[in-house]
């Protein structure tokens, strides 16, 4: 079962209890900041008369996990995309690649690591809801299986079609995400990334990477073949020149008699 979070922008009252709970649960230093950082993994932002939460979307095929050269990021069987700080060497390709710009870096530390929402993976493993969902007093952030969350989202839209945009954000974005959002205002205006492909970005690099073994074999044989032919030409040219006599020896390497 893959877990999910449903965030309903129309229900959020902007109290920030989720952000506070996140800080406490993950023992993050400092107060909740304006934007997400390595030390603030979720924020609540007021826009267009409603509130939007910023947090890791926990993609079904996470781009960050696909790009990490040392596999420091991976998706757990339960669904959260988690981070192993002990492996990370700080290349920051995950930050570059994430279609939602989620991973943040500790720019102010001599020994820096990435910071991002890990969907309270230890709680989730024990069957508990995330800290943010538990703290939410308004049923704006709810937690459950992704299938249930999707059903709930569609149900809410069906019941009040005038209130909602008829779209569940995260259903298909970047190949689908564990966090789903519904809104009364177009998602783009709420600061969410639009124009994302339905296909996970990881497929585009995998298309190239998966062909490397074949390519190496073919390219290697081709290059050796070129060498074989040119070297052979050289040998033939030398033999022929030797047969004809010393004054016709061609010292150029093209194999053509001069």
């Amino acid at each position: 079962m893959t877990v999910g979070i449903l965030f309903d922008m129309t229900k959020c009252i902007g109290c920030g209890a989720c952000a506070d709970a996140c800080k406490e649960q993950n023992k993050l230093p400092g107060p909740v900041e304006e934007v997400t950082t390595a030390y603030t993994w979720t924020t609540v932002e007021a826009r267009e008369g409603q509130y939007v939460r910023h947090l890791c979307m926990h993609c079904l095929v996470p781009t960050c996990a696909s790009v990490c050269p040392v596999a420091a990021l991976h998706k757990t069987p339960e669904g959260p995309v988690v981070y192993d700080a002990d492996k990370c060497m700080g290349c920051r390709y995950c930050m570059m690649a994430c279609p939602f710009d989620v991973p943040k870096y500790q720019w102010d530390r001599a020994i820096p690591i990435i910071g991002k929402c890990i969907m309270c993976t230890s709680r989730v493993k024990q069957g508990e809801a995330t800290a943010c969902a538990t703290a939410c007093p308004a049923e704006a952030t709810v937690f459950g299986s992704r299938a249930d969350m999707l059903k709930e989202a569609k149900e809410r839209i069906r019941k009040e079609p005038d209130k909602y945009i008829d779209h569940v954000y995260g259903l298909k974005e970047a190949g689908g995400t564990g966090v789903l959002m519904i809104s009364g205002v177009p998602f783009e205006k709420m600061g969410l990334k639009a124009k994302l492909t339905d296909e996970p970005p990881a497929m585009r690099t995998w298309q190239v990477l998966s062909n490397i073994p074949d390519f190496v074999a073919v390219w290697g044989v081709f290059l050796y073949g070129v060498h074989w032919i040119t070297a052979r030409r050289d040998t033939v040219a030398h033999h022929e020149a030797a047969r004809k006599g010393p004054d016709t020896i061609d010292t150029t390497h093209t194999g053509r008699p001069s």
Partner: protein, 387 residues
């Protein structure tokens, strides 16, 4: 002015650039200390919105790309068997080797925790382009050092290992060409992951191919440029008989590359940015004029190709255009999606410039103490306009 294989070591001339680089080492050391004590934020203009900057866009992408002359020339000499190019193979391999060392040094600054760079060896993720890049850097640096090793070993009279390397030169060169092909293209593949972020003037499924072909073109440009600089610095003559056919190869590579770029831009409609002269459009024009139109337009003519001055102008333009292209992919093309303008900090620039200086100093030292250039026949006079 008869130059010998190893140049007279005694005279040390304190030139303008030597002085500049020497003076730069002081702020460089201070920045290095700051970087490792206070973190990346203290010295760079990088941020959560712009995590990759000059050290990736210039040092890594250009350092690797401009080292492409090494695999191209070793392939020409050892695989295509065009032995007359042999005299310029050594300086080219040295340039490639130093280019890779430059990249690794830059990574020591850019990686958050560079002391963990070896993690790619034990923690595998074959789905990651960066994993491929990491392995290519490791393996190709090894190949380059093996290809260059005979020069050093000869100097100290170790002939047995030199013979062994000579016997294995064909598989070594083939490994080098394969690794370079993978590495050059993989730097383009890195950006395939950001279809929603990289501007369509640069984003294309063909990015790996673009990076590969343009690296061959600019790598050759770099060989010409390096011959010219060696001429100036060490009083050598320009090997016009070798550089002229290389310039032809460069014209072909850049011509194919330019044509493919135009095809992509016409198809995805992003030429509108060029016509409207948007920020991205202007930067594209700069890149395309310098990197493709000028070098191809000039050096397609035999008359210009055989003139040392125009040859160098064309090659220099190609290299400049290449650098602008890599910075466009890594910086310009990513700015709109990030919502901010990234301009490198003075400290980032000083680190990059000093690292180049270290590379050039290493080249000069190698030329002085090792047999990098072939012995020149005393009869040959230097090119007239250089002396």
């Amino acid at each position: 002015m008869n130059s010998t294989a190893t140049l007279p070591a005694g005279r040390f001339r304190l030139g303008f650039w030597t002085t500049v680089f020497a003076l730069l080492t002081i702020p460089f050391l201070a920045i290095t200390f700051l970087r490792f004590s206070k973190g990346l934020g203290a010295v760079t203009n990088l941020s959560d919105k712009f995590p990759w900057g000059l050290w990736i866009g210039f040092d890594l992408l250009c350092g690797v790309g401009l080292a492409a002359g090494a695999f191209t020339l070793t392939a020409v000499v050892h695989l295509f068997n065009l032995k007359r190019f042999e005299p310029i193979v050594r300086p080219t391999i040295l340039t490639g080797f130093l280019g890779y060392i430059f990249v690794i040094l830059a990574l020591m600054f850019d990686l958050g925790q560079p002391w963990r760079i070896w993690h790619t060896i034990i923690y595998w993720n074959p789905h990651s382009v960066m994993f491929e890049v990491g392995w290519c850097v490791m393996l190709y640096t090894t190949v380059l050092s093996l290809e260059f090793a005979p020069v050093v070993l000869e100097r100290f009279g170790f002939h047995a290992p030199v013979r062994m390397i000579h016997r294995l030169i064909t598989p070594l060169v083939i490994a080098g060409v394969i690794l370079s092909t993978l590495h050059q293209s993989s730097l383009g593949t890195l950006y395939l992951i950001v279809p929603s972020k990289l501007h369509p003037l640069w984003y294309s499924q063909l990015l790996p191919l673009f990076f590969y072909i343009s690296a061959i073109g600019a790598g050759i440009g770099m060989v010409i440029l390096e011959s010219y600089m060696s001429k100036r610095a060490f009083g050598r003559h320009l090997e016009m008989d070798l550089l002229e056919p290389l310039a032809r190869a460069m014209v072909v590579a850049l011509g194919i590359y330019g044509l493919m770029r135009i095809q992509v831009i016409v198809r995805n409609g992003s030429y509108a940015d060029v016509l409207n002269l948007t920020y991205e459009g202007k930067m594209f024009l700069l890149e395309f004029v310098l990197g493709v139109l000028l070098p191809v337009g000039l050096l397609a003519f035999r008359k210009l190709r055989t003139s040392p001055t125009w040859l160098v102008v064309g090659a220099f333009s190609a290299v400049l255009g290449f650098v602008v292209n890599r910075l466009n992919v890594s910086v310009t093309g990513m700015e709109r999606a990030s919502g901010i303008r990234y301009v490198p900090s003075v400290m980032e620039v000083i680190v990059s410039v000093t690292l180049i200086g270290i590379g050039m100093a290493a080249f000069a030292l190698a030329v002085r103490y090792l047999k990098i250039f072939p012995e020149e026949k005393p009869a040959e006079e230097p090119e007239p306009e250089g002396s």
